[in-house]
């Protein structure tokens, strides 16, 4: 992981529109992420958080607009060396065990062998994963932890977490929170999608609020708390609800 000395955005979305058939999932979405920033994406179900993340990672065809990642307009295999991603719903290959899967990813990220072994063992301990049990025998929570662990392999400069708290126990939620804060302090950037509003106050530096495929608010957490009192109140004012 290296600190980016420039203020060139790590991620920049300009006027992005994505359609699923006739349904417009996101409409003219624009925001950016600067180095060392932790950006929280919040919104109700179907607001367009996951679609925005998929657009960043080049997983879908964009109808209009442009995504820039580390200054490049295309998400290539080289870009993925610098990104760690934990999707909301994902299953690692079931025939592997946690150690094999993390080692496989480390090898792809071309890590030094001794560093790789040390890091894999660290992750296995930290995320409390059974190293020799095949993934197909893992519980839902363990799979979730493995998906989160793989996002940190290779110490990427940008970590994207889509609803990372789903399926995690309270202890792991606390541990993850600490890890993310530490990680950010080392210079990494984070995109954190969640609908648990209070969580974002402690983990993120900035917030992008989405509603029905559009960005309705972009603010830093201190400013947002100053204006509205809390993220929850800001959400009620801009999106609705009590």
């Amino acid at each position: 992981m290296t600190n980016n000395p420039t203020t060139c955005p790590v991620v920049e979305l300009k006027d992005i529109t994505v359609n699923y058939g006739f349904y417009r999932a996101i409409d003219s979405v624009s925001f950016n992420l600067l180095p060392g920033m932790a950006l929280g994406l919040i919104g109700a179900n179907g607001a367009g958080k996951t679609t925005s993340i998929r657009a960043i990672l080049g997983m879908l065809k964009i109808r209009k607009g442009q995504v820039t990642l580390f200054g490049e307009s295309r998400c290539t295999s080289k870009t993925f060396h610098r990104i760690g991603f934990a999707p909301e719903e994902a299953t690692p290959p079931e025939y592997l065990n946690a150690r094999e899967y993390l080692t496989f990813l480390s090898k792809l990220k071309k890590q030094d062998i001794s560093e790789m072994k040390r890091q894999v063992e660290d992750f296995l301990t930290w995320f409390d994963l059974d190293p020799n049990k095949p993934v197909r025998k893992y519980s839902k929570g363990m799979r979730r932890r493995l998906v989160l662990a793989q996002a940190f392999v290779g110490r990427p400069e940008l970590i994207i977490l889509d609803e990372p708290l789903n399926g995690l126990d309270p202890l792991m939620i606390q541990k993850l929170r600490t890890k993310l804060v530490e990680y950010r302090q080392k210079g990494a950037s984070i995109i954190y999608s969640s609908h648990i509003l209070s969580e974002l106050e402690t983990t993120c530096s900035d917030v992008v609020m989405m509603h029905k495929g559009k960005v309705v608010l972009r603010e830093s957490i201190p400013n947002l708390i100053q204006k509205y009192g809390s993220v929850e109140k800001a959400f009620s004012s801009n999106v609705g609800g009590n």
């Binding site: 990672l57 997983m59 879908l60 065809k61 290539t76 295999s77 080289k78 993925f80 060396h81 990104i83 991603f85 999707p87 719903e89 994902a90 299953t91 690692p92 290959p93 025939y95 592997l96 094999e100 496989f104 990813l105 090898k107 792809l108 990220k109 998906v147 793989q150």
Partner: protein, 269 residues
């Protein structure tokens, strides 16, 4: 690329299906070889005993069926495994160029076909003894040529099935490939009738049908080409070109397909 290949091989060897196919393959070869060993044929009063040299040709034909099963299973289940359902998202973000995936599957399927060939040779040796591998008796060059030709054809089949499996699902691929085989048989029959009309003008409907049929992968002539290879040591050049073109085309289509993951597709199997 090497890491990807290593991982794919691990998946193949941890899957029990491949072992089943290899056991089936060795049983088929063993039964065939045992049956042919010292078989005496009497045709119009001429008595001939089938020896190792004749048995090799039969073994090669038997081997086509097991190789066909390997390519089909690999194409429908194994190649699309990492690109289906919830796994597709994690595969998408791997730091490898997407074109490496079809190349890796081609190499891995090729290795399986090679193992199947080795099974055939081992079975052959177990029945006819090591002395039968003497280059004067055993047609090594011909075996190599047959392997390369089969490899080319079955890779096209494997990638075609893998593409279909990615687009329509595994179960649907069974029906689609079955129906396609049936339709192609009918089209092939018509094409033979229309050939004369097509030679007069390729711009007529019949002409276009024949032209299109002739540009498809020549699966219909696969066995005949193998026979041709056995008798004259050659394969029709135009068929060889067609196989190569389709291999490149399917590889590019597979690459295009895995560029955008489809997590919405159910996680069958």
């Amino acid at each position: 690329m090497l890491v990807l290949l290593q991982e794919n091989c691990r998946y193949v060897f941890r899957s029990k299906m491949i072992y089943l196919i290899l056991v089936f393959s060795s049983l088929v070869h063993l039964a065939g070889m045992k049956f042919l060993n010292h078989l005496t044929l009497s045709i119009q009063g001429v008595v001939s005993i089938i020896g190792p040299k004749e048995a090799v040709y039969t073994a090669l034909f038997l081997q086509v069926f097991s190789s066909l099963s390997i390519a089909s299973v690999y194409g429908i289940w194994m190649a699309p495994y990492a690109h289906r359902g919830e796994k597709s998202i994690l595969t998408h973000v791997l730091p490898v160029p997407k074109i490496q995936f079809p190349i890796c599957y081609i190499i891995c399927c090729g290795l399986l076909l090679l193992i199947n060939f080795i099974v055939m040779i081992v079975t052959f040796v177990s029945v006819f003894g090591f002395s039968s591998l003497n280059p004067e008796l055993f047609p090594w060059i011909f075996i190599l040529k047959t392997f390369l030709f089969q490899w080319l054809c079955l890779e096209v089949l494997m990638l075609g099935l893998a593409l279909s499996s990615l687009m329509f699902g595994q179960v649907a691929t069974f029906f689609i490939s079955g129906s396609l085989l049936f339709v192609l048989q009918i089209v092939g029959t018509f094409a033979r009738f229309f050939k004369e009309a097509a030679e007069e003008s390729y711009f007529s409907a019949k002409g276009i049908l024949v032209w299109l049929y002739l540009k498809l992968p020549p699966f219909g002539s696969f066995v005949f080409d193998l026979k041709e290879l056995m008798s004259s040591g050659r394969i029709p050049f135009e068929n060889l070109i067609l196989w190569v073109v389709w291999l490149v085309l399917f590889s590019l289509l597979f690459w295009a397909k895995v560029r955008y993951p489809n997590p919405a597709r159910s996680t069958e199997a």
